[in-house]
Symmetry: C2
Subunit: 509 residues, 2 copies
Amino acid sequence: MGKVIDDYSTLMKRFKDLSLILSTEAIIQWDTETKLPPGAFELRAQQQALLSRLEHKMSTNRGIGRLLERVEKNSEYDSLNEMQKRNAHLIRKNYDEATKLPERLVSSLAEQQVTSYNAWKKAKAAKNFGAFKPELLKMFELKREAAERLMSVKGVSNEYDALIDFYEPKITQFTISRTFDELKAGLIPIIGKAASASKEGCQSTLDFRMPVATQKELSKSLAKYIGYDIESEKARGRVDETEHPFTTGYFSDVRITTHYFEDNFLPSLFSILHEGGHALYEQNMREDWIYQPIGTACSYGFHESQSRFVENMVGRSAEFWSAFFPTLKSLDYALADAKVESMVRAVNRVQPSKIRIEADEATYSMHIIIRFELERDLFSGKLSVEELPQAWNQKYSDYLGVEVKDDAEGVLQDVHWAQGYFGYFPSYALGNIYGGQLLEKLEKDLPQWKSTISSGNFTPIRQWLTTNVHAYGNLYNPLELLRRVTGEEIRPSFFLNYLDSKYREIFCY
Amino acid sequence: MGKVIDDYSTLMKRFKDLSLILSTEAIIQWDTETKLPPGAFELRAQQQALLSRLEHKMSTNRGIGRLLERVEKNSEYDSLNEMQKRNAHLIRKNYDEATKLPERLVSSLAEQQVTSYNAWKKAKAAKNFGAFKPELLKMFELKREAAERLMSVKGVSNEYDALIDFYEPKITQFTISRTFDELKAGLIPIIGKAASASKEGCQSTLDFRMPVATQKELSKSLAKYIGYDIESEKARGRVDETEHPFTTGYFSDVRITTHYFEDNFLPSLFSILHEGGHALYEQNMREDWIYQPIGTACSYGFHESQSRFVENMVGRSAEFWSAFFPTLKSLDYALADAKVESMVRAVNRVQPSKIRIEADEATYSMHIIIRFELERDLFSGKLSVEELPQAWNQKYSDYLGVEVKDDAEGVLQDVHWAQGYFGYFPSYALGNIYGGQLLEKLEKDLPQWKSTISSGNFTPIRQWLTTNVHAYGNLYNPLELLRRVTGEEIRPSFFLNYLDSKYREIFCY
């Protein structure tokens, strides 16, 4: 048996290739969404299929299995440091999971993704779940089969936990149920009070058009403010336009997108902050961890904590608006007479609604809790795919007091299930909860954080986020990272307190 | 031995993957030139190196060698049709060439490309060949070694022929020398007369600024005019900006670039036409030949014949300008008083100069002849790398009557040699010659071609080009294609006659 470090190094060289192909796939996917001529979708589908076949081949290559064994069984294994052990562990996890799924199932899932997605699109346009149901059922069964096969290697006792583990490693539905119940109980009174206090809103403040060219200037200012460089000669990012904003890329090449609406500049403003928060996470990992498993994000929920931190905790704060308002006014004269207080109220208005992606900061988590409960009940067998629309509508009525009129604004609104992304939704609300706990810690470490925001200086906060989240990459699982950074287990109370006191202050109740 | 068609089909499936990875590489390269954040070049270099490693692996995979043998030695081989045999031949050629070069040489060449390129850039900025010389020498020796190894499989008797064969299959330096000598002899009097007749030029016609936004509108009109769709819902192309214009892509996704200069709209206008001509070639091959070797261009020279046909034979014709002038005037009021005759004279002005990419239509080929003669003499040993600058300057003085003042405007002006592209230059002038012969045939087939241009209808010409060039893909080698389409061997007289009569008409001599 040779030196453990030699096999480990060979293993890492293999992983570098995998990182490179994954990051190339990300750019090709970005191109598909932003630049691809519309006549080229068929060619592009073939190119993407080839890349993912190559990626799968790399991940499941038996040479990786042999190298892993040589590393793990080497008597010198303990001479590896914490980071090296974590890298080996993450490659092992990826390898075991990838080799656990038979080729047949992987390609059935890939095909079903296309079929379900198309069926979903049509059904949504026709506002009729019925047309989507058979394809959703097939997707659900395939995902359940995959989950069942992964249970042992993931060390979980039920299918839904196996799926959640892709997004939030080592968090179970039991923990999420307990946490979300507490979150729900806390949100109800907050939503009630804030919604009634913000009813007499300042929406008229927003009643003007801002040319797209101006909004593009605004995007540049916002990106600069948060330290997401898209303009200098060392820029490592860029902003483009898509229907739905997203972030993609790797280290020095992390790209975000936004969508401009002439009659409302806020969606673009907040998506620049939101996606910018994601981008900062990817860009500010330790450079020396590039091409290593630890040089990736901790979890989807932690990713979401970063985007929501910048979008909401910073971007909807009175301090941010007082700092940013002069810039905004200088860009658009229509705002000359606007008052910053009205603006802050307008962007914090709470109003239960039916569409998740348009929800305010307080009700947003409720949309997620509904989806989590439905997924959980689907996988436990308590609910059938058939019963989904009705259960959906009932929960919207019970939890948010809104009446869903058709499936397009109900169960068909999101693409996730059509894509087979069961277990993904919880991460969005976990991101809020992590964010609340991070904020609590930030307040201790940087008591003057609010005044740095109002003075227009985001740098100390970005540095704090880098030190406390970005720089850890994927060294720990999410609950472990949370514990190390905040000293706490997962608890929604911090997020709830933050919301409650913000609304009390802004809406004076 | 199984059915030949089965092995052939497996072979073609392998080739499809190769086409997909090559076309993906093209898009990534496009992204590097047009969209990549400047901080991401190092990451991108790694991604591109991985893709080219994967591509090389696919091309040299032994399974391909075995399949080729099974196809070639099968007693039913003759049951394959002409296209299938050509496909097998082209895959064989690619495989034999790729496997002929040792790994060491391939990676030395790749590394030397980077080193030479950087040395060239610095040397050009310093206007000093000396700093580039050692790296050029290394590149030259590596290319000579590669060429020597390829001679037998390419069936040629000297190194330079082996290199030319990459760009113009089955054309030798002997044929090129003979053809270029005739071209040179014919060009000298044409350049002499046209240069003196066009001296009293109409350059003042061009003395105005056109905003980039207007030039972008102009680009759209030009693309639409030639049938390069960048705007419809079925668009299969797009236009972006780079320092040096280029075309890249595959079938349904063929992208061109241009460069806008506020003080002169002509470079962009002509590059849209030039690159558009390249793009039409790639887009209008037979759809059923996609993912097959025959579904690629015949040669670099034929590619250049298409771009130069659209740029020069169409784009510098009096008919094009009379058709396009109203559009141009409507886009820019500064042109309101301009006369179309002055414009035609301005864009056809002949004036010997030192920089190839700025040369007019008549002197352009002379720049190429100079480069060809230098390359030929380098490989024959008649000239050393050391003597290049002086030989270059001497030929510029002899053939074009211009005095080169420093290496930046002399031997260092082009990037080709730094990249190792020896044997590439001849294709540019061969493109002019092919173009002249194609034009002769077009005049017979479509005697009214000029009036269709002046009536603003490019479609019949585009269709003629598709039928006579694009649709043949890579079914024949260039001289064979020329013979089949025009019924002639390669002869520069058609191109010379075209130039001579155009200048006589425009400059009235």
